[in-house]
């Protein structure tokens, strides 16, 4: 058994920032990550970091843009915290040596991004995430923070009180990918989940293969609600063949979208008469698919993004990486041809329900980054707001876990007296557990275990037994088959445009996946670097997460942000200014709601029609 004050799960932007903050607060902190830190998906972020740094801009404008962008589903205390803390955090990165793009006077550059009323996106070429990730890893090395890399976290060790609000998290169970050894990691002060997004629930995604929603699923099965999971962002510009991301920076610098008839459709077809290509992501993604559906797509699949008119010098200065991506992954020279683009799954606005200090309803369990829902992004995340979220809330979660007092949180979590009860929506199938492999949520397998170590040991034993079972089984279904089926269902039915019928179909297929998973086995008998075993674990997590996305999409019968329902073409503020929460109770999901907090420090954010 390993023991530290704070255990951070995941080593992307949020995890590294949390670890640095916990270390600075005096804690003995360790990072447990299934990849080496520099392999984390934060490295793929391209665009930039929103922070009100310049005169003429201020945090209140940033907060306002974010609330509007969220379609009034962001919680004001979270949004205001983000906008207030982002400038100092961005400058801290600069002090750590981050190679930001610069102005003539040597100060960091900022550029326009979708949905922003001021050019507030600080960037390092079109590879901001790469630099952010490496700079923070450098700081982790500098501080000598312990990193267990290529250790896959399989489960949390939580106590087993009937009410999740009373449970405590004491650590995690992980296995060393290189040796196959399963061990417990005791966290005497707290566990911070910073495990990234669940993009692999979809077939066409900009996300890395490692983005499998592990933290989401572990927290969910331990009793923490997942919040607003129906809000999945589809990025308007991903390459059609691979899903590789073409940064919003291209449009920020003046890139233009054309349909097959050479029309600048964002204006010519009236999708966003003021902002055009720089409307918010949900608006542009829908516009592109509408063009394709109405027969004005190129090859009936995509549209063109043109940056040739920006000139070689500017492209090389600010978007060079985009030229490489278009060339390597689509065979297109962006200097002489327009690039093919279509919407691709990109970001989960929802996630593990936490407050603005990163804390969940389970004592000692925190989450930050894409796996968490504070909630900052609400129904739609603005480009350039993911990276400040990582550093701002990663830092807060790390500090809080290490015992720093951040004051009382305004956002409430868990099931309490401020929530609205269950949904009346009927599900086409019974969601939730199909048998032993998906039902072992909390440590509830009999007997009362008093101390943390006992709980952890029991959790370790359970995972060891599960590994043995998966490896010993000789025939059955392989994870890859189930994963592909799940990904196809989500891309076919829970995509940019959603219908009731489609979501119901998706839920049925998810149910089939769950049942097939009962017969899953791992063909590779080796304990050494068994990726087959790891992906089998991940696939189970994807099933749980996909189900919460589909459930959220079915119950929310309105149109808000990225969530579009054919039967409901309007935002319904009278009923839906509230968060969807799905929690796992005794092996099945239940739905409840919590009102959105629109009241900020100085003012209340009144919902307005979102036009760009």
């Amino acid at each position: 058994m390993y023991e530290h004050d704070v255990i951070v799960v995941g080593a992307g932007g949020a995890g590294l920032r949390a670890a640095i903050a916990a270390h600075e607060a005096g804690a003995d902190v360790a990072i447990v990550t299934k990849l080496h830190p520099v392999r984390s998906h934060t490295g793929a972020a391209e665009g930039g970091i929103n922070a009100a740094l310049q005169e003429g801009d201020d945090w209140e404008l940033h907060a306002y843009d974010t609330m509007k962008g969220s379609d009034y589903l962001g919680d004001a205390p979270a949004v205001e915290t983000l906008a207030q803390d982002a400038p100092e955090e961005t400058i801290t990165l600069e002090h750590w040596g981050m190679p930001f793009s610069r102005e003539e006077d040597g100060r960091v550059s900022q550029r326009p991004f979708g949905g922003l009323s001021y050019p507030r996106t600080t960037y390092a070429g079109a590879e901001t995430g790469h630099h952010l990730l490496h700079v923070m890893y450098e700081q982790v090395v500098k501080r000598g923070i312990q990193v267990y890399d290529e250790w896959y976290v399989m489960n949390l060790a939580t106590s087993d009180e009937p009410d999740p609000n009373d449970r405590e998290c004491h650590g995690v169970v992980a296995y060393d990918v290189q040796s196959g050894k399963v061990e417990g990691f005791k966290a005497s002060q707290g566990v911070v989940l910073a495990s990234g997004g669940p993009g692999q629930a979809f077939d066409h995604t900009t996300n890395a293969v490692s983005c499998t929603g592990d933290g989401h699923a572990m927290a969910y099965r331990a009793g923490v609600p997942l919040e607003d999971m129906e809000f999945i962002q589809f990025h308007p510009t991903s390459l059609p063949s691979t899903g590789v991301l073409i940064s919003e920076g291209v449009r920020g610098e003046g890139g233009i979208l054309y349909n097959s008839e050479g029309e600048r459709f964002m204006f010519e077809h009236g999708y966003a008469n003021n902002s055009g290509e720089l409307a918010s992501r949900d608006v542009v993604a829908r516009a592109e698919l509408t063009e394709v559906d109405e027969g004005r797509g190129v090859d009936d699949e995509y549209v063109h993004l043109d940056m040739r008119h920006l000139g070689e010098e500017r492209i090389l200065d600010r978007l060079e990486n985009i030229l490489h991506l278009a060339e390597d992954f689509e065979g297109v020279d962006g200097l002489v041809e327009p690039m093919p683009v279509k919407p691709g799954q990109h970001y989960a606005m929802g996630g593990i329900e936490v407050d603005e200090n990163g804390q969940s309803c389970i004592d000692g369990l925190y989450a930050a980054g894409e796996c968490a829902c504070v909630s900052v992004h609400g129904g739609n995340r603005l480009g350039g707001n993911a990276l400040p979220e990582l550093i701002v809330f990663g830092k807060r979660a790390g500090r809080h876990a290490a015992g720093d007092d951040l004051g009382e949180a305004e956002i409430r979590t868990g099931y309490g007296d401020d929530v609205e009860d269950e949904t009346e929506t009927e599900f086409p199938v019974t969601p939730g557990a199909a048998g032993i492999d998906t039902s072992d949520g909390v440590a509830a397998d009999g007997g009362v275990t008093a101390d943390a170590e006992g709980l952890l040991e029991r959790a370790v034993e359970r995972e060891r037994a599960r590994v043995d079972r998966l490896l010993d089984k000789d025939t059955g279904v392989q994870h890859a088959e189930i994963r592909q089926k799940l990904q196809n269902a989500m891309t076919d039915y829970v995509n940019v445009f959603r219908t009731e019928d489609g979501i119901r179909k998706a839920l049925k297929i998810i149910r089939e996946c769950r049942e097939e998973y009962q017969d899953v086995y791992v063909d590779d008998p080796s304990r050494t670097f068994n990726t087959d075993l790891q992906m089998t674990y991940e696939t189970r997590n994807l099933i749980d997460v996909a189900e919460t996305i589909a459930i959220g999409a079915l119950v929310r019968n309105e149109f808000r942000g990225a969530h579009w329902r054919q039967e409901y073409q309007e935002r319904r503020d009278d009923e839906w200014l509230k968060h969807t929460l799905v929690s796992w109770n005794d092996g099945e999901p239940s739905v409840f709601y919590r009102p959105v907090i629109l009241e900020g420090q100085e003012k209340t954010y009144e919902p307005k029609v979102r036009s760009y």
Binding site: H36, R39, W96, G106, V141, V209, L325, T528
Partner: protein, 290 residues
């Protein structure tokens, strides 16, 4: 995009004697589907065909795989298919024990550097159509093989850490004043290429010197040091400290400018040039040669 790329002779290089006796078990699927042998073809010609990949296999723990060997897979070609796509297909459809690292699929995570047809390349950014068949996929040379295409990266990371890879200016202004350090555009441009390193290890694996001298810092770590030493935001004092690290016995002077690192770098970093520039800097500073 180039479609014809003659491969270096290494393609024909004799196999490791250890592997000679091992019979490559020919996958059943080899008998199916028309395969194109030993030729390079362009995209259009490959549509509807299968591509033949030979993948290195080894697992210390599984009896049948303790003797290293190559397995043959025939993978249906799709336009734009990369080496990574092909091995993923082979794993998901034919043999789930086929093991390799990969994550982002877009050349930023740096985890899928393999030895493909005799050259270090990232699997995800190497188009299958550009390669001669059969495409031979091996783990990075000069690294210990953990299993199949997975090599032990610990030594590489140790070398990266050995150059104190973190910004060390002591005089940064207070962050809460929102006062950044100034950096000229020219200086950012100067260090730009060096900051693109994704730690894939391709350069280190291609370097003859690193192969013979385990303590040599190697091109990636020296490039990492360059990234800081040339950054005007760090003080002269710290720069000197960095040059001393680089001047140690197994530092920059070991480099024999063979350019192999520069040739294989998937991010086009001029590694050899950076190493030479650091040598010049060290001379200019009159630092003592070990």
């Amino acid at each position: 995009m180039s479609t014809q790329q003659p491969e270096p002779e290494t393609q024909e290089a004799p196999e490791d004697p250890e592997m000679k006796g091992a019979e490559s078990p020919v996958d059943e699927r080899e008998k199916e589907g028309g395969m194109v042998d030993q030729t390079s073809v362009d995209d259009a010609d490959l549509e509807g065909e299968t591509v033949h990949i030979k993948v290195f296999r080894y697992d210390p723990e599984v009896e049948a795989k303790q003797e290293p060997r190559f397995d043959d897979f025939h993978v249906p070609f799709k336009k734009g298919m990369t080496v990574l796509d092909a091995v993923m297909y082979a794993r998901d459809e034919y043999d789930s024990s086929l093991t390799f690292r990969h994550s982002c699929r877009q050349a930023v995570c740096g985890s899928d550097a393999f030895f493909v047809n005799g050259k270090q390349r990232l699997g995800c950014k190497t188009q299958i159509a550009d390669l001669e068949q059969p495409v031979r996929i091996e783990p990075l040379p000069h690294q210990e093989v953990v299993k199949d295409l997975v090599v032990d990266m610990d030594h590489f990371y140790d070398q990266m850490h050995a150059v104190e890879p973190y910004f060390q200016d002591e005089d940064t202004p207070d962050a809460s004043d929102l006062e950044e350090q100034r950096q000229s555009r020219e200086n950012r441009e100067k260090v730009k290429m060096s900051t693109r390193c994704i730690w894939c290890g391709a350069c280190m694996s291609s370097c003859n010197i690193a192969a013979g001298d385990n303590e040599y810092l190697g091109p990636a770590a020296i490039n990492k040091a360059y990234r800081f030493a040339m950054d005007e935001r760090e003080s002269e004092e710290i720069k000197e400290h960095r040059l001393r690290i680089l001047e140690q016995e197994h530092g920059v002077w070991r480099c024999q400018t063979q350019f192999s690192c520069t040739e294989v770098c998937p991010k086009d970093i001029p590694l050899t040039e950076h190493i030479q520039e650091l040598k010049r800097e060290a001379v200019k500073k009159n630092l003592k040669f070990w």
